[in-house]
Assembly symmetry: D2
Homo-oligomer: 334 residues x 4
């Protein structure tokens, strides 16, 4: 259930609603909006009467949420969630190499991005690899490199968390914590990042339905971290011309059912660098709020995923075209 | 094998190459290009020597084609195929109701489209329906209506052919013959439209790989009809938020491997009208040469597929935004 | 709607029900059963009252059928359909080469099968091939070979029909007409075999749902041919260890929803001969009424699909094990 | 690389090979077989010469393993892996409720199973649920119940581990540790159970290829736990007649490529109890070494997954038929 406060509701009135929810042994989730605050509640609300709240001072009305996801649903929160500069007015590019290789390359990448107005660097310190014998990333040393690059350049860091044991270290080193496709239903990990105080970029599972994906976001939000960014990265199908099948039509549907920002990762979707620019433009046109791009100063010598990684010249051309397009879609790049 | 003529080759020199191919009991396929003619050949060319052709006057060189599709391949023909106004310089909208319902509605639709600069009307006289008890279309009477609407308005007609027995009637009534997704590997039908002298819009099968799709185009082209338009319309996957999973990443790959125009049908792809505009813009951004849109003056009372059909106001808004976007993608609407 | 007659209903009483249905401009489908006759009807029955029939002499009751498929549904016909020796008491093996190659090999195959108690030979005269340049089968000459082999050995012939134009020739040469996976929704072809008087083996489409498959059977039955055998042959998925993903769990579901026999084609399902025996046993265990097996005296030199074709020794071993298993499943091989 | 020892090799000779591998900074994996020991090694073996080992006393030969999975591959170990009574001579049934509900039901279940000769009880104390608001299992209290039921009845316990933090508790309470489908690529968890000294039942991911599944097994084995049981449980496809698409054809392929036992979970595969028996028989016929069955004294009142859970009468009938079948497949139930 969702309690919508009047626009002129006082802090005391809000606090009283929160207290009433807690007395019922339910969990309150205050959700400040542009013009008014709403307070979601989770737990077994089936037997709770709406009138219990509607008589309280400052309450506009109480709404039952019909979706299995509550906090993630558009029913619960009409306004688009804005996370820093990420939201409906901007189109945010996050770019960088698949993995942190060394400080020199990471720094060059970050400087190039900052020069071009890109404010987030993606790079993996911990890498999920299908083989136990493959390079698994630089680990904590990779996080140290990212922290030094951030200190030098001011760029925001997006990096993947794979295990609860590294949660604190990744939270400290990152500005956005990435949860990978293989961990979309690693519920222990989702609960852990629910306690972090950094936004979480949640990749869609390889064969996850939209509802399962929003339920995964709900796990994070139910823990108290409401800053979740959804990221489509291609799903598993019979289709063999691309590495995965990028499901762009999930973008407008996700944005209709949820208030969370939706990003796209065209690099993993198509798996071949020649097709990344076209699918980046298509991502913006589909209504996405941003993209994750694998980029590297020298893709042919990248330590991992070079085949789908674009070089600086291609990245610059993509940014120029996105800037021109953004105007048509009521956004600015940033 | 492909014989590329010099740009100054004479008609006699071309004819001699054609005759030489025929003498080898192979089938010649002259393919005129922007600056030069090339002559494809099909049949068992494994034992044919390239030097046999390279000594003939007017021949630039001979090239072995490595793909299982020959005539459809970019190897065989570097230049994009242009079919009337359809090609790399334009973005072509084909719009209209799922099925021909009556002359009045069809005429209203056509007049609205012509007023907005849309030059092709789509409407089915023969409808593939999963139930034998469902409305199967007006049949020949539907074709008559389309012919009268074309005569009155000058609009081009796109309509589906389902059976070889109606091939002549559909060819006469249409400007582009549509082959539906269920018939993508109805090889008898493909061979029959290979003998037609109207362009063929070939929808991708529900679970066809790109190679199978291009091989289906090859069936048509091997019969002598080189004017094939590929049309992505969503594939079958586990994903349940949309009717099908629109595979937009097939667009840049198909255009790289083939010289044929590539269209997208976002209406069948997503299956819900609210999401059609976003996926239409994404289609253009992915590099498509055009779209098929289901539109109707009163979608809620359309005889079939109303849920995915947009109304005139939405169509007009979509056309306006496509016009603005086209400029960025080096195209004009038409 | 279905009109169930009393077990002692006379021919005149049945005829009167049929006539009453016809007077309503609906199509009657008399369905004789083991102990009583039922009469299905198709057309728009929504406004037809059950009492109209329940007052007629000899009528037990009238039942509304809730599925979109009527004649194919278990609601319409409780008893399993028996087609010659094919039905719930037997497990029927249909074996043979992918394509008719020549009379000598076809005859050897047929003689070997008859010696082993296998009563049906499968072999394609018309072959659906994804490339227009591949061997397309011997065509009418292949049908002549099959007819001569049948005359010499008495074996039943199962062969594919791809085009309406060859329907009469295939009907004459075959004992069971096969409709291939690519034509499961070639509705013109389905209607045509609805007029044939030979049983039809209907392969499931590569990405057909069970309901679509039963609707395709309905197309055939609505034309008056009630002898349809369903055949699972693997569906398209992401899974790459086998040619297709054999969906054996469709067998018990199809047999629950429909009275039609259900076969399995493990050869196309797995695509590698080493795995065909295991999946043949699994087919029987899943409840299937029979299997289609690709077998050839010399699989490594078969003209098509040799990789999934078993040799005589393997076939004999499979038949021996099926014979032992059949006993446990209340069936006999035949 | 794999070093195969002579059948009369001494413990000292084996130790010397192990030491030689360690000197190369590689990891040795001694793999005792029925007649001889082999020693696998993992790490970067590309530059290691086979002759280095072939000159050592007791060494028969050295073999390069071509698959990306090494320890899991049939190349590395010819003999089927036997884990307690689980292996090629038996067909092992693991049965029980989806989740541990209380001690009384769990005990009744265990007693019924032991009476029928079933030696393993499955029941989840930790439940992966797509909603954060659903019952998540009894947790540690559930493990206590399982330990008491084991102590009273002697039955083996199979229960799921979801988080590294509960690894020790689950290892203590279980005889086989289950890794669920959502965690098949939770690499931290795989590494953790690689350090456990209990067998691991590894469910296939919802959209995992066979190679990815074997690589997940490799993660466990590379940690030193060689007792891995693979378990097919249905994959995600477009097919909607069953909860998942049970991919039985993976069974013979997995057993060909790997020496590990392969189980099937027909309950999750089909999702409806009426179809579970047929798919259980099909599992044995496909060559599986055992099955996981959801069973409950009163399925309609089970706390989770009741729709796919069979009751005692059905379970008994299934066991009787499996016993009869097992004989034909060279196995005994147990």
């Amino acid at each position: 259930m969702l309690i919508v406060m009047r626009s002129d509701a006082t802090a005391e009135q809000i606090a009283r609603v929160v207290a009433t929810i807690a007395e019922l042994k339910l969990t309150p989730h205050p959700l400040p909006g542009a013009t008014r605050t709403a307070i979601g509640m989770t737990g077994n609300t089936a037997a709770v009467s709406k009138s219990l709240f509607e008589v309280l001072p400052g309450v506009e009305n109480a709404i039952r949420v019909t979706k299995p996801y509550k906090l993630a649903s558009r029913e619960m929160k009409k306004d688009d969630t804005v996370i820093g500069n990420i939201g409906p007015k901007t189109f945010t590019v996050i770019a960088g190499p698949c993995s942190v290789e060394n400080e020199e390359i990471t720094l060059r990448m970050a400087e190039h991005l900052m020069n071009k107005g890109v404010r987030y660097l993606r790079a993996g310190a911990f890498k999920p690899r299908s083989s136990p014998y493959s390079f698994q990333g630089l680990g904590l040393e990779g996080l140290r490199i990212l922290e030094r690059v951030r200190a030098k350049t001011g760029i925001g860091i997006v990096t993947e968390l794979m295990d609860t044991e590294h949660a604190a270290a990744v939270e400290a080193a990152s500005d956005i914590i990435q949860i990978g496709t293989r961990n979309m239903q690693n519920f222990g990990l989702l609960k852990r990042v629910g306690q972090c105080r950094k936004p979480v970029l949640l990749k869609r599972g390889m064969s996850a339905t939209l509802e399962e994906w929003l339920m995964a976001a709900e796990y994070i939000m139910a823990g108290g971290n409401y800053e979740v960014i959804l990221c489509e990265r291609g799903v598993r199908t019979f289709s063999d011309h691309s590495r995965n099948t990028l499901d762009l039509s999930v973008v407008p549907v996700a944005k209709n059912l949820s208030h969370l920002p939706v990003f796209v990762d065209p690099s993993h979707g198509v798996g071949k660098r020649a097709y990344v620019p076209a699918m980046t433009y298509a991502s913006m046109a589909s209504g996405a709020d941003g993209v994750l791009l694998e980029a590297h100063p020298d893709p042919d010598h990248a330590l991992s995923d070079g085949a789908q990684t674009i070089d600086f010249d291609t990245l610059d051309a993509v940014l120029a075209k996105l800037t021109a397009m953004a105007n048509l879609f009521g956004r600015t790049l940033g």
